[in-house]
């Protein structure tokens, strides 16, 4: 009883841990072939998903609030994850701009700003739409204002892809680093159990 009370107290005392940081999918989702590039000529294709965990985030560079917040917190979450999983199981974080018209010329620099190993790419509209649809994500370019500036609506969650190339989970804001790392570690245990069955 004492133990239970202590547990309940711990839950009350750490509201961040009680927040939902991720959702595991009921069944893995196969992803189609895709290809993205950046201005350095680097590529990100479905082949890059093999044998490593990958987190894919969609966004755009003219995004003052949500995208920097998400990438900044993912950086902290990935550092935390590094304390919980083997180095080769630390996810690779990939940012895909859904706004190639404005971003293609310097997209590679964006994600690196948050972590030297984060990568960013963009691509043809068709490729963007393919991966958006396959990961059950969303974006929409809004109508430009009188200055030509336009906003972009996009998913606030990010996709977690397993080393077999299938979509396994979604991470959700606020991306609390400790809780997100905990979620990713649990996801990897579930995945390994499934493989060994």
């Amino acid at each position: 009883m004492k133990k239970l009370a202590a547990l309940l107290l711990a839950l009350v005392a750490t509201p961040a841990a009680a927040q939902v940081q991720g959702v595991m999918l009921d069944a893995p989702v196969e992803l189609p072939d895709f290809g993205f590039t950046n201005e350095l000529g680097e590529e990100f294709t479905d082949k890059d998903l093999e044998d490593q965990w990958t987190i894919v985030m969609f966004g755009f560079l003219s995004c003052p609030d949500v995208c920097p917040f998400t990438l900044g917190n993912l950086e902290a979450a990935i550092s935390e994850t590094g304390l919980r999983v083997r180095p080769d199981n630390v996810p690779n974080v990939v940012f895909i701009s859904v706004d190639p018209e404005r971003d293609a010329a310097f997209v590679s620099e964006y994600a690196k700003f948050f972590h030297p190993e984060f990568e960013s790419f963009t691509g043809d509209r068709e490729q963007i739409d393919t991966l958006i649809e396959a990961t059950d994500s969303f974006y929409r370019l809004l109508k430009p204002d009188h200055t030509g500036h336009y906003e972009v609506q996009h998913s606030s969650s990010v996709s977690v892809i397993a080393p077999d190339g299938t979509l396994r989970a979604k991470l959700q804001p606020p991306f609390d680093p400790g809780a997100t790392a905990e979620f990713l570690a649990r996801l990897q245990i579930t995945y390994r159990k499934e493989l060994s069955n």
Binding site: P68, F69, G72, R102, F138, Q153, S156, S157
Partner: protein, 149 residues
């Protein structure tokens, strides 16, 4: 001499609002970002409602008030034309909520720079704010600017 003194006492921005601004910061923008945000807490110390109707930023082509709204899984930025601040009320501009959107910098801001912002109110008063460019530290409880993330 008396005239010079009188001039010194007249603020350059005209009417000064009964407003206090705490912790105005600008997170360092990623390379290539033509749009980034400023955050702060604005408090109305007057006994009447204040309406924040605009903002300008030195060294930027445009600045707007914006609000991030996450509905379901979709994040949208909404322009805020008028922000009412009740007497004694503090409004927090922070990640995931209200922010000042600074657009098209003349030059990329660097850590330690300050950006002169002017808050414009419906009664014609203004408030000059000096916002510091800081490198955000995520995941903990703030940045160098002590801004909760």
């Amino acid at each position: 001499m008396r005239m010079a003194l009188a001039l010194l006492l007249v603020p350059a921005t005209g009417l000064v609002a009964d407003i206090t601004v705490d912790k105005p910061i600008i997170p360092l923008a990623p390379p290539g970002a033509m749009v980034h945000a400023a955050y702060m807490t604005i408090s109305n110390t007057d006994d009447v409602v204040k309406q924040l109707v605009g903002v300008s930023a030195e060294g930027y082509a445009m600045a707007h008030m914006h609000k991030t709204e996450v509905k379901g899984d979709v994040a949208t930025m909404l322009a805020v034309d008028v922000l009412e601040i009740a007497p004694g009320q503090s409004v927090v501009f922070e990640s995931g909520g209200l922010h000042l959107m600074l657009m098209h910098p003349e030059a990329p801001a660097r850590v330690g720079d300050t950006v002169a912002l002017t808050l414009e109110f419906s009664d014609g008063s203004t408030d000059a704010v000096s916002a510091k460019v800081v490198k955000m530290i995520h995941g903990g409880h703030g940045s160098q600017g002590d801004h909760g993330s």
